[in-house]
Amino acid sequence: MNFAAILAGGHGTRMGATDKPKQFQLLGERPIVIHTLEKFVLMPEFERVLLLCPVEWVEAAKDLVATHLPASEKVVVISGGSTRSGTIQNAIAWIEENYTTDANTVLLTHDSVRPFVTYRIIKDNLAALESHDACDTVIPASDTIVVSAQGKEIDSIPLRGEMYQGQTPQSFKLQALKEVYSELSSDEEAQLTDACKAFVLRGRPVALVEGEPFNIKITYPVDLRIAHALLGQYE
């Protein structure tokens, strides 16, 4: 059984002078998060699609889902945690409360602000979990990556051919993910900005799935302009 968790925990602090979290801003005629949810809702591969929001946005998100995706009994809106891993653990907890999981239960996690995810990327994530417990969606790095621990001088420049930029979805066998989370020290967990890293820290293999350059994350105001341009709406 497969579950999708759409991570909408952000408070929009990077989005400029607006107090509305970026995932709830409009892209075309509908909020970004609704666009993101829609493809997962359509796909029969997913038993439920969880939307994890800041607690103060849960009711508003339920209203938005009811308005824009009226036939979507599959969507469950719950509150996220204070960190990314806390949010994912809330998703795991909800699934375990409501379903019986087994070694093949899949949890696909996806940023709510990546609305351009494609059917192919999602299917490739599910396919990668036939051989792995975890997978990460990436594209080859187009810019040279510069490493600088202090942010003053270059420490090193890794070979670009070996560098990838992480996107989402990141997908996991739910029980394996729970297991690696339980093994993390509190220091490790505090530093964890990426769920795949929990597997890497434990030396467990994570498969790569090819993303798309246009599977962008709408983080800054300029990203929203790019997103509108992709949609052919240049205004």
């Binding site: 359509l42 192919r120 246009f214 052919g232």
Partner: protein, 341 residues
């Protein structure tokens, strides 16, 4: 739903666009899996259409021959994962006696609407038809082309005089091959003569009674009816030769597309009392009849598999470019795209 569409924006240039498509509660959403290139797509891709026409139509996703898997069906007609062929003709009204593919109000994918080069195709239950189980999926990709021949044969059969002993098919390309094959299947007792330019290609028409190189047709050869599948600059010569060899009151089914007006010897059309039967595209009934034929007569599918030419895995726009270049270099055979974008 945000949907990625691969559109031709200028000759030989395909860009992706993202469109926000409304998925109605009763919609059917199909993931295209197998696409097939038609000459019409190639004419758009190479920029061989009138620049004015291109300016009006582009940007537009190409391809009107395709099948795929049902991802979502709000109508409850099909099961998820079911393989269906998609109908490119999109009627906007019903008419008591004009068929859907002749209504001027109808849209057609890869001509007046986006074709099947899309991440997902949002359509309706009456625009898809289930594929028979176990069918050769590369052949099924060009089902639409077969439906066009099926449509012509039905129209011909309904309107032509009673002569059914000898047919001639002009044009040794894909359409000629399919038309000849369907004639042979429908009229097993009749003589089906094949007329073409290239002896090597004609040798592949193993189901024809006889094949003729057009410069060596016996003067006394006579046919009841003819099917012109030449198109382009060769149309005029083909029609001239048909008029010469057809019995009076025969029907000439015109199937080849030409960018320019084609001169026709109307004096002899009048003298012989000939009927010119124009046909184009196809509709739901033609798809249903064709898929029924595929199911009932698997040898037809086997014969069609012989014209599968290049088969390409498509991951991105550069793969599309390679497939179109290969298709152009190939004079005969269908180019199949495994759609993996």
């Amino acid at each position: 739903m945000l949907n990625t569409v691969y559109q031709l924006v200028a000759p030989r240039r395909i860009d992706l666009a993202i469109e926000d498509v409304v998925v109605a509660p009763s919609a059917v959403v199909v993931r295209p899996t197998h696409l097939s290139i038609c000459h019409a797509d190639q004419r758009y891709y190479q920029g061989l259409r009138d620049p004015k026409v291109l300016a009006e139509k582009l940007p537009m996703a190409m391809i009107h021959e395709a099948h795929g898997e049902v991802v979502f069906d709000g109508s409850g007609t099909y099961s998820v994962g079911q393989q269906v062929v998609m109908i490119p003709n999109l009627p906007t009204e019903e008419h008591p006696y004009i068929a859907e593919n002749y209504l001027r109000s109808s849209k057609f994918r890869s001509s007046s609407a986006d074709g099947f080069m899309q991440e997902l195709v949002v359509t309706t239950a009456n625009r898809v038809v289930p594929l028979p189980e176990g069918i050769d999926l590369n052949v099924a990709a060009f089902t639409e082309l077969v439906t066009v021949a099926m449509h012509v044969l039905d129209r011909f059969d309904a309107t032509a005089n009673a002569g059914r002993s000898a047919f001639g098919v002009w044009g040794d390309g894909n359409m000629g091959y399919i038309t000849c094959l369907l004639l042979r299947t429908r009229f097993p007792e009749a003589d089906v003569y094949m007329f073409g330019k290239n002896p090597e290609k004609l040798a592949d028409f193993t189901f024809a009674t006889r094949t003729f190189v057009i410069s060596e047709v016996p003067a006394d050869l006579r046919i009841d009816h003819a099917f012109e599948c030449v198109g382009g600059a060769g149309s005029a010569d083909a029609i001239e030769q048909i008029i010469e060899h057809i019995h009076p009151e025969g029907t000439i089914a015109l199937m080849g597309v030409s960018e320019n007006p084609v001169p026709v010897n109307t004096r002899m059309v009048l003298e012989k009392g000939l009927r010119l039967l124009g046909s184009s595209r196809s509709g739901l009934a033609d798809f249903q009849n064709t898929l029924a034929l595929f199911q009932e007569q698997p040898q037809v599918v086997a014969q069609l598999s012989r014209i599968v030419g290049g088969v390409f895995d498509i991951h991105d726009t550069s793969d599309i470019a390679k497939a179109f270049a290969d298709d152009r270099a190939r004079r005969f055979g269908k180019t199949i795209l495994h759609w993996l974008v």
